[in-house]
Symmetry: C2
Subunit: 160 residues, 2 copies
DNA sequence: TCCGTTCGTGTTATACTATTACATATCATT
DNA sequence: AATGATATGTAATAGTATAACACGAACGGA
């Protein structure tokens, strides 16, 4: 099994992580009584196959090829479902979506977007999330959800 | 002078903070050799007057009423200028813009968006930013810019 | 099993957000 | 005043997202 903690910037076994994540999502959905319908499942597969942040219309195009509806709501609804239940993430800076690589445990990840190669890594966000909660709490604000995104250069693209 | 550290969730003297921020921006622009042209200045004034996150088209509408061009690029260019130089912020979650309340010192704020009253507060982001940098660094990622946004309930809207 | 309700899908249409491209004008500098 | 860089105005279009409605499948209770 691929190292689940490997950074998305590192080389890893795509086929393996794809399979594992899908299995984890299926199990989660079953346990939580969620309906992982054909469109939803296929949408997740597409995100996993591409293994990158994809626009809703890119996803839609692929869904249409697979015989699903070709109108925007088809993609948006499936993507919203995945995001709502933690099986995918929305990256607002890119107006894009990406499969969650750790769907089995709740987490609020941080996204690192490389301006050199356009790769997007899902980094562990516990520390950042904790700091954010503390900051919010000091103002009496109760955080429900958050998005934390950074753009910069990944190790490969960074100058020496 | 209004307390510059007051949370946006607290009552405060809008007219006062408006004036102070505008003065600070004018000084900053002068010192840094930036051209705070009429559209740009008016755009900032609009954001300050409304004192909330505004869509580009809302801003555009007001600019048009004031005799400026009525096409989207007019608003987007002015807003981009303000954002690029730290005089305003872009809140991606809302596809909106808000005047920066502390334009005199560089900072990477955190945005707290209340789902109850739609208020947006600009909270100090040093701690969060530090945690984000640490997380990114551990993956060899060099952060250039980031956006950190949280949705939840402000003190006023939170249930007892 | 039948009925009603909820949920999911497909479709049409439209709303909202943002950028490209190009012409014109203004500014800073010589 | 001439030049090059910067800023503005406008037209056209690209890209992102949602509302509203019809239909049908899944679910739960009588």
């Amino acid at each position: 099994m691929p190292d689940p903690h490997a950074s998305a910037f590192e080389r890893h076994d795509h086929a393996g992580c794809r399979h594992d994540v899908l299995a984890a999502v299926e199990r989660e959905a079953r346990e939580r009584g969620l309906r992982l319908t054909p469109v939803r499942r296929r949408t997740l597969e597409i995100l996993l196959e591409e293994h990158r942040a994809m626009g809703a219309y890119d996803v839609l195009e692929r869904l249409a090829k697979d015989g699903f509806g070709a109108q925007p709501p088809v993609a948006y609804r499936a993507l919203d479902f995945l995001v709502d239940h933690g099986f995918a993430h929305r990256i607002r800076r890119l107006n894009a979506f990406a499969a969650c690589m750790h769907p089995d445990h709740s987490h609020a990840p941080v996204f690192l977007i490389c301006t050199g190669c356009n790769a997007v890594a899902e980094a562990p966000g516990e520390q950042v999330r904790e700091a954010l909660d503390a900051t919010a709490r000091s103002l009496g604000f109760a955080v429900e959800r958050s998005n934390i995104e950074a753009v910069g250069l990944c190790p490969t693209c960074a100058p020496e």
